[in-house]
Amino acid sequence: MTKGWTLYDPRLAWMLVAPVLLLLIFFLLLPIAMMAVYTFFTFVTAGVEQGTLTVANWHEFFTDSYYHGFLLKTLRVGAMTALICGVFGYFPAYFIWATTFKHKWLLLLLLIVPFWISFTIRTFSWINILGEQGVINVTLLRLGLIHEPLQMLYTEGAVILGLLHFLLPYMILNVYVSLESIDRTLISAARSMGCTSAQAFREVTLPLSLPGLAAGLLLCFVLAAGSYVTPQLLGAGRDALFGNLIYDTIMGQLNWPMGATLSIVLFVVLGFFAAIYTRYMGMSQIVKGLGG
C-alpha cells in the first residue's frame, strides 16, 4: 500500500475545497445562525437587547398584519417584475440566438455593459428621466401636451421599472444560454416533418428553452423580492419592500431582534421558492446562466 499522493486523492480534493467551505461556514452559515438566535432575544429599547429568550418577536410577526401586507406586496412586486422580465427578456435572447450577424459576441457584450456602471448610479439615472424635472415631464410640458408634471417617480411603477432595468440582462442571459444548448438539427427535423417555423418554435424551441426561462424567472424573482436600494431610491414610503422594512427596523428603530426575525422570514420565504425550483428544474441551469 502506497501513501503517495495522486491528483485524484480524496484528501487533495478536501484540501482544495476547504477554503471555500470555511468561507461559507464563517461568512454565511454562522452569521445566519447568529441571526436565527437573535430572533429569540428580547428587545429592551432602541439599540439595547437582552439575551433573555422570548418568542415575542415571532409572535409579533405572525400576528401583526402590517408585516403580512409588506410580505405579500414584496412577493407581488417580485413576481410581476420576474414575469415582465420573462416576457421582455425572451425576445432579445431569441434574437441574439437566431441572428446570423457575424459578431454575436458584440450583442452579448451589450448585455454586460450596464454592469460596468454602479448599480446605484444606474438606479439614480431614472430620477433624471422620470422626475418632475426629468426628461419626460419637461418634454411633455414644453410640447404643451400636459400642464403639470406627471407623477411617475416614487410610484410602484418606477420601482418595477428600476428592477427591470437591473434584472433584464440576467433573464436574457439565462434564456440565451438555454437556447444556445438546443441542437439546431432538431428544428430542421421538425420542419422536415411538416412544421412551419412558428410550429417548430412551439414544438421544439420553446419547450427546450423553458428551463432557462424558469431559471431566469426564479433569479429575477428572488433578486427583485430581496431588493432594497431600488424601492428606496425610486419608490415612495408606501412602495417600500420587505428589504426596506428590515433596513428600517434595524437602522431606524435599532430593533435588532425584530430586524433579525424579519430577515429570517425573507430568507425562508425566498429559500422556499428556490427549493421548489430546484426540486423541478435543478440548480445547474442558473449556474449555467450566470456563467454564460
Binding site: S188, A190, S192, M193, G194, E203, L208
Partner: protein, 387 residues
C-alpha cells in the same frame, strides 16, 4: 453555366447523369431529379453543375470526403439549403419554391435529432400529427413503424433512455412512418460504434427494401457505400466524379480520385513504350515495365497511370503475367488475409491484399508481385479513365 460533363459516365439503368427531359414518363420513373444545380455560399461554390436522376425505389449513395458537397446536396433536397441556380424535382414536381415543410421528405440525421422532451411515441407520431392523420391511425402506424425497426413497446420511453443504436432506429421509424417520397440519410451510422454500425447497415437496407422507399444516403465511408447502394455517386470538391453500381465504381474508376478514394488503389505512373493492338507495354516510373490491355489503342510515348487494386496484386510466386520485383516493407496479418506493403524502388510503394495460401512474406524479404494485364485500369495524363 455549362451542362457539359468533364468525365464520361457509364450509362446505367436507374441513375443517369443526363439532364432530365421533364417529360411525364421521366417524371414518374424518377423520385428525385437535379438539373444543373449549383449551390454557392457567397463566393464559395459548394456544388457545381450537378445533374442527377434517381429512380424510384432505388438506394443511392453520395460518397466523398468531407467538404465535397454531398451533405449540401442532401440538404438541398430537403429544402434546408437554397440552391443558387438550376432546379430540383421531387416526384416530377419542381420544388425550388416549395418550403421545407411541404416537401414530404423523411430525414435521418447523424446526431439522431430526436426531440429529447418528447416520448418515443410522440417523436414517431410527429410527422403524422402534421399530416392530420386521425389519432387511431397514428397509434397504429407508430406501432407498425416501431415493429419495423424492431423496437416494439418503446412508445413511452424518452430518447435519453435508449442507446445510440436504438435512438437511430427511432429516428429511422420517425422518418419513414409518414411514407415520405424520399428518405434522406445524412451519415446516419457515423455516430455509432463499429459493431452497431454494421448491424444498422443491414437493418437500414432491409427496411428500405421492404418499404420500397427511395433512399439517398450520404457517407464518407466506402464500405458503407459499397455494401448498401444500388448506385454510388462519387463526389469531389463540389462536383460529381462518377456514377455507377458499386462494382462499376470499384472495378472501373472513372478518375484518379475515385480510384484512390475507393479502396486505396495502387497508382503506377509510366509511359507507353510499345503498342501491339489492344496490348501495350508501359514503362513504369519505378523502373520496371508491365504489359496492359487497353480498351482502345494507346499512342506510343503517352503518359498513363496503371491502377491496380490491392486485391488484384498477387504476392504469390509465379502468378500473373506481369512480374515486378520488390522488397516487403510491412506485413499486416489479418487472419484470413494479409496486407503487404511492397517497395518497387523509385519511391513507389504498392499495397497488396492477398488471401493467405502458403507462408507469409516477411518484412525485408524480396518478393515478386504480379497482376493480370486485364486486371487493371488505365488513366490518361488528366487522370481520366481510358475507355
Amino acid at each position: 453555366m455549362t451542362t457539359t460533363q468533364q468525365t464520361p459516365r457509364p450509362a446505367s439503368a436507374g441513375v443517369s447523369a443526363q439532364p432530365a427531359d421533364g417529360s411525364a414518363a421521366g417524371a414518374d420513373r424518377h423520385a428525385v431529379e437535379f438539373r444543373d444545380v449549383q449551390i454557392a455560399y457567397g463566393k464559395f461554390v459548394a456544388v457545381r453543375d450537378f445533374s442527377l436522376s434517381i429512380a424510384k425505389g432505388s438506394f443511392v449513395t453520395l460518397l466523398g470526403p468531407s467538404g465535397c458537397g454531398k451533405t449540401t446536396i442532401l440538404r438541398s433536397i430537403a429544402g434546408l439549403v437554397d440552391i443558387t441556380s438550376g432546379q430540383i424535382s421531387i416526384g416530377g414536381r419542381r420544388v425550388d419554391d416549395v418550403p421545407i415543410y411541404k416537401r414530404n421528405i423523411g430525414l435521418v440525421f447523424q446526431s439522431y435529432a430526436l426531440f429529447p422532451h418528447k416520448t418515443v411515441f410522440d417523436n414517431v407520431a410527429f410527422g403524422l400529427k402534421y399530416r392530420n392523420v386521425p389519432r387511431a391511425e397514428i397509434a397504429r402506424k407508430v406501432g407498425q413503424a416501431l415493429e419495423m425497426v424492431r423496437l416494439p413497446g418503446a412508445e413511452k420511453k424518452l430518447p435519453s433512455q435508449l442507446s445510440g443504436g436504438q435512438q437511430q432506429r427511432i429516428a429511422l421509424a420517425r422518418a419513414i412512418v409518414f411514407e415520405p417520397e424520399v428518405l434522406l440519410l445524412d451519415e446516419p451510422l457515423s455516430a455509432l460504434d463499429a459493431n452497431m454500425r454494421e448491424e444498422m447497415r443491414v437493418e437500414i437496407k432491409k427496411i428500405q427494401k421492404a418499404t420500397g422507399i427511395t433512399a439517398i444516403f450520404v457517407t464518407h465511408d466506402q464500405e458503407e457505400a459499397l455494401s448498401m447502394s444500388d448506385r454510388i455517386v462519387v463526389m469531389n470538391a463540389g462536383s460529381m466524379e462518377q456514377i455507377g453500381t458499386p462494382q462499376e465504381v470499384y472495378d472501373t474508376p472513372a478518375t484518379a480520385f475515385v480510384a484512390d478514394f475507393l479502396g486505396k488503389a495502387n497508382m503506377l505512373a509510366g509511359t507507353v513504350s510499345a503498342v501491339d493492338g489492344a496490348k501495350a507495354t508501359v514503362a513504369l516510373a519505378a523502373g520496371q515495365s508491365v504489359s496492359v490491355v487497353s480498351p482502345r489503342p494507346l499512342a506510343q510515348g503517352a503518359a498513363v497511370t496503371v491502377v491496380v487494386r490491392p486485391q488484384k496484386l498477387s504476392v504469390a510466386p509465379g502468378s500473373g503475367e506481369n512480374r515486378l520485383s520488390g522488397r516487403v516493407v510491412s506485413t499486416s496479418y489479418l487472419g484470413g488475409s494479409a496486407i503487404y506493403e511492397i517497395d518497387l524502388g523509385g519511391k513507389t510503394i504498392v499495397r497488396a491484399n492477398n488471401a493467405i495460401t502458403g507462408r507469409l512474406a516477411r518484412e525485408g524479404e524480396t518478393v515478386e508481385v504480379g497482376f493480370d494485364p486485364a486486371g487493371c485500369v488505365l488513366l490518361d495524363d488528366k487522370g481520366l479513365r481510358i475507355a
